[in-house]
Amino acid sequence: MVEPKYPTVWRRRHLLDLESLTVVEINALLDCAEQLTTAYNASSTKLSLLNGRTIANLFFENSTRTRNSFSLAAKRLGADTIEFSSSGSSTSKGETFIDTAKTIEAMGVDAVVVRHSTPGTSHLLSTHLNCSVLNAGDGPHEHPTQGLLDILTIRQKRGRIEGLTVALVGDIAHSRTARSNIWGLKKLGAHVIVCGPATLVSKKWEQFGVEVAYSLDEILPRCDVLNLLRIQFERQATRPFPSVREYALLYAMNSQRMLKSKSDILIMAPGPINRGVELTPEVADGPHSVILQQVSNGISIRMAALWLMLGVDGGAK
């Protein structure tokens, strides 16, 4: 078994966003994810890289897949996990989120994995806590491990990111996945298109070198990858398009649209998917779909993220 090698370029204790990472750091995370998965698959037991470490899942917003993915990643590295979840804002409980996090930290954890509906919450916790902080999604701001796992999936399928045309389709305004993908993909040299209803796709993205499109049918023949984002009904104060039916008419990936696409197009979705809204079942389950590979890669990326953040001091506790 090849022992995974801790990348010498890594210096960070927190993973808060992809916007601030360098190309070298992003590649280090992706490579590390592959190495850890190879090592885990070759081993008959869990790895022992994070033996004796404790990781807290601190979820202020509902999540099933990301939470389980982080838990499993921690366990495969030999760490212990504790789970804390609370829906609703801290005010409804009469405790601030900072106090909640400090309480969990005082139980002796080495890292907290934080999900919250408000942008910046994990950044703020990283300034208030002594342990490592991993952002598992902060409102519409960023979801760095999701961005990384999407990029890893594309890299595995295509062998590269540079020069590819990747379209993010749907609710860009409220999507943390979109933002993390934009930063990560741009840094690695992809051409990124954001596509969706004009009320959810700001023209201002052009100022960051991102192409803005309203018609999926027009861009479809050029795309190597489609990442179909979930409509975030829960983050919309008023519905930004007339009906779900109209949205599906304009943006749902279906069999007819598959015919207009490149023959090797990759269909991705961060999930959970609304079948019939963002994509039809035959596309979700079809040969171009890599949705389940994204889920597996999620664990690899989170193993890498946990190990890198916690191993920064040479593994010393």
Partner: protein
């Protein structure tokens, strides 16, 4: 106290700046019996027992005047009290405040006005003038008893920082106030465009994913307010202007002869929306920190008097309120303690604002708008005077703040300049402890 009032003071060697008299020169200012007695008095006119102050290197100016200052009472004592707010005011060089009606309950009856005035008299720090509500309970539905409020001493009417969302009510209020010659102070904002908003809509907001507050929300309400002002002939003050669009609309209105007064807040002149990248809740203010272009145009508008004055935007909030998630955190910064130093550090030292216009913006113009006897050093006027040391560096340590709250992004920053001595009605109310 009566004995104090008979004291006389001679402030010597300072640079006396009084925009009301277009005065800016080194000289001597004599205060006797609570009033300004003379500028450059003859030696024979100076009382023998006069206390002398050497103001070398300092600016001597009429005490600063703030409007729409939140003083916490009644009901929000966890944020501020009239006693703490008025001490913070003195330490910041302010001698008069017009306090906001945004209390709990709001100041919408004569007895509320009397309560605030009594508390202020008891505190006996800076002078406090009371702004009454335009609408009952600040509900925006029906007029408060404006006549009674004015009779009890209200000098202006405002629901600010809540905007006058109800256009018909604003029109009615502008007409009704014609009887009392009192200004309506409105914070122009279309709430349906800013609901749940956290920060200025722009590139930074796009990246951070925080809920947007578009500039049009202010522009549209500004245009509406001015149109209503022109048709009613009332008195209107636009509170906390911050956008390029509303400045353009106001400039055109002033050019065609519309009489309106306008303020902007110190925060909107010093910081832009990039500050929110820290996710520091102390940068969450309303109006939100705008783009760099808006900030530059606000400064330009100060220079050409499209914007008449600068306010502190003092909105103290207790620590537990500011420790919440960014979308739940209330808007506001505590500002009275630091506003003057912030202006010196960020605007005057950098050449963006000259001293004469600064004193005009912080003292003379707000006094005129409120119609109070302040903002001037003319002979016979009340001796509300500040001596400002423009060169002293100080660190904004928590214990330095006299306000009950600590919600300011300036905490632990080094600022340049601060008030050294402050007189209210000829009585020395504040003196900076010598380090």
């Amino acid at each position: 106290m009566e004995a104090d009032r008979n004291l006389s003071w001679l402030i010597e060697n300072g640079r006396i700046i009084d925009p009301s008299q277009r005065l800016d020169r080194v000289g001597r200012l004599l205060l006797i019996g609570g009033r300004v007695a003379a500028l450059d008095p003859l030696d024979g006119d100076i009382p023998a027992d006069c206390s002398r102050v050497d103001a070398s290197g300092c600016v001597v100016a009429p005490g600063l005047v703030d409007i729409a200052t939140e003083l916490g009472e009644p009901g929000l004592e966890e944020d501020e009290t009239i006693a703490t707010g008025t001490i913070a005011a003195l330490a910041g060089g302010y001698t008069s405040l017009a306090c906001s009606a945004s209390t709990d309950p709001p100041i919408d009856t004569a007895s509320d006005v009397e309560f605030v005035r009594q508390k202020a008299a008891k505190a006996d720090n800076a002078r406090v003038y009371v702004i009454g509500c335009v609408s009952k309970g600040r509900g925006g539905e029906e007029l408060a008893e404006i006549g009674s409020l004015v009779e009890a001493g209200a000098i202006a009417l405002s629901d600010s920082p809540l905007p006058m969302g109800n256009t018909a009510l604003l029109r009615k209020a502008l007409e009704y106030c014609l009887m009392f010659n009192r200004p309506i102070i409105d914070r122009p904002e279309v709430r349906s465009l800013t609901r749940d908003g956290v920060m200025h809509e722009g590139l930074t907001q796009l990246v951070l994913g925080l809920a947007p507050m578009p500039a049009e929300a202010e522009d549209l309400a500004t245009a509406r307010d001015l149109r209503l002002l022109e048709s009613t002939g009332g008195r209107l003050h636009l509170n906390s202007i911050s956008t390029a669009g509303s400045i353009d609309i106001i400039r055109r209105a002033k050019d065609r002869g519309t009489i309106v007064t306008v303020d902007t807040r110190i925060m909107n002149l010093c910081f832009d929306d990039e500050c929110l990248r820290t996710f520091d809740a102390n940068y969450k203010v309303n109006p939100p920190l705008r783009s760099r272009r808006d900030v530059d145009l606000c400064l330009e508008a100060i220079a050409d008097s499209t914007i008449d004055m600068i306010t502190s935007g003092h909105q103290p909030k207790s620590l537990e309120k500011k420790m919440q998630e960014l979308d739940a955190v209330p808007f506001g910064v505590t500002s009275l303690d630091t506003c003057l130093a912030q202006a010196i550090t960020y605007l005057i030292s950098t050449g963006k604002l000259d001293w004469k216009r600064a004193i005009d913006c912080f003292s003379t113009q707000p006094s005129r708008m409120l119609g109070i006897d302040a903002g001037t050093l003319t002979i016979g006027s009340p001796a509300d005077v500040v001596v400002i040391d423009p060169g002293v560096n100080w660190i904004v340590e928590p214990h330095q703040l006299r306000s009950r709250s600590r919600n300011t992004p300036l905490l632990n920053q080094t600022l340049k300049g601060r008030a050294r001595m402050v007189w209210v009605g000829g009585v020395l109310k504040y003196q900076l402890a010598v380090a």
